[in-house]
Amino acid sequence: MSATGDFILKAERLTKRFGGFAAVSNVDLAVERGTIHALIGPNGAGKTTCFNLLTKFLQPSDGAIFFNGRDITRMPPADIARLGLVRSFQISAVFPRLSALENVRIALQRQRGDSFDFWRSEKALNRFDGKAMAGLDEVGLAEFAATPAGELSYGRKRALEIATTLALDPEMLLLDEPMAGMAQEDVSRISALIARIAENRTILMVEHNLSVVADLSDRITVLARGQVLAEGSYEVVSRDPRVVEAYIGVGHG
């Protein structure tokens, strides 16, 4: 964690009000390029809302967002994905009626640009099959290539979602609780995968599994009641009395 100050993603005074209730208020966030940055906090702290704001699935009530120095505060979400800032969802987001292979291929297909060619055979997509298969293999899903995604177990859906996100080869990934509901062996595999993909990418992730957070992240921002409570390395943050207090109520260590 060097102080180069090369921030790939920056949010300033980010605020989201639902009616009178501020789910996120005045959050300043700066994610350094090439790091794994964790966003933690008790349930309802506003982590998912932050993700929705950063990827523009929600329009901020206030504040500004910069990606690679570019103001993306008013950009539509599909355009943000095209810039290389891609998110996953807390509730596993797969395409249930498409096979696992087709799920990954939908992401690879983006390399063609738009796919409005309705007159062409889908055989035009066969050239992505090899890469899609390699992506599935990476997350341990090769044998489920032909299985409809909706029929996969919860943990496998999460793994498929990660494979799909990775297939876009994004510069930065936002992962919302990627390991929630996974068996321990899957957690280890996905942890290792995240560490590996972070070698040439930036990752911002929400995760409740604190040992994973401790292992993986370079920097941690703690959110509580929509506001930044603390920020720093795991050692610093985990000793912060305010953080400990915020976590007592929800039983985290």
């Binding site: 990827t55 699935f57 539509p76 979400p77 599909a78 994905a81 095209r82 891609v86 998110r87 996953s88 969802f89 987001a93 797969v94 395409f95 249930p96 009626r97 498409l98 096979s99 292979l101 087709e102 291929r105 939908i106 992401a107 297909q109 983006r110 063609r112 738009d114 796919s115 409005f116 060619d117 309705f118 007159w119 062409r120 055979s121 889908e122 055989k123 035009a124 997509l125 066969n126 099959d129 090899g130 890469k131 298969m133 390699a134 992506g135 599935l136 293999d137 990476e138 090769a142 290539a145 032909a146 799909t164 990775l166 297939a167 876009l168 080869d169 995968l193 590996r196 993909i197 040439n200």
Partner: protein, 327 residues
Amino acid sequence: MTVANTETHPVTLPADLRISTPRHHVVIFAGLLGLLLVAPFVLYPVFLMKVLCFALFASALNLLLGYGGLLSFGHAAFFGSASYVAAHAAKVWGLTPELAILLGTGAGAVLGLGIGALAIRRQGIYFAMVTLAFAQMVFFFALQVPFTGGEDGIQAVPRGKLFGLVDLSNDLTLYFVVLLIVFGGLLLIYRIVHSPFGQVLKAIRDNEPRSVSLGYKVNRYKLAVFVMSATLAGLAGATKAIVFQLASLTDVYWTMSGEVVLMTLIGGMGTIFGPLVGAAVIVTMQNYFAGFGAWVTILQGIVFVVTVLLFREGIIGVIARWTKKAL
């Protein structure tokens, strides 16, 4: 080492995963064509042409509903408008039938672009309500303007001569022309569903936010499929006007929108062959039970309820599940 670009780790692809037109689809299409070529020598050509027109209409709706995940409750607007335009072009302007059908289809497309652009801004049931509302506007327009002939409709539309050469007054000749149009339409729908565009369409149907997060501008795809669906519904309506030599308020009435949804659901939405079966079932019922008057509607309702209760995926949907084959 990047993950997505892993070329160093070759993983072999099972042969059954490679995309290609499944052989059973080719067999079914070929068998269907064979059957339809023989059918007019066994059954009434006019009855068969009615089934064909509605099979195309239902397949057009299914493209939007079954593959785009968008329930339109106003497809009569496209079917009916195309029917009026084709009838007017053939009767008043004296155009040849292929030009009349082309103009009618174009009317469906233009109307689809207008209504679709406004409707796709809404989701789920609100989308259905917006399409219904616009279809009702089209209905009242058709009721008011003089060119539609009001309650009488446009009657005695000449079938004319195809390209000015082939006389279509003969039912059998017309049947083969209609078969060509409808079968061509069905193959086009099949291609759309199994194209790179179709893949994105199915992804949007399955999970719209996820498609957005992958960088797809979903509204453009939704509008595109809406226009395609409206155009094909228009082709069905225009062809129907030439076959029955009639365009009437029934074609733009909301019950027509409901009927085509019914056909699609009974046959199996999201299946290629379901809408054809659904159309055949409903048209046959209407024909054979015509003597029962208002009871036909009630019988249709009963068939619908029974279908939904017994097999929610529709007739072909259930067969597809049993045989574990995409139909």
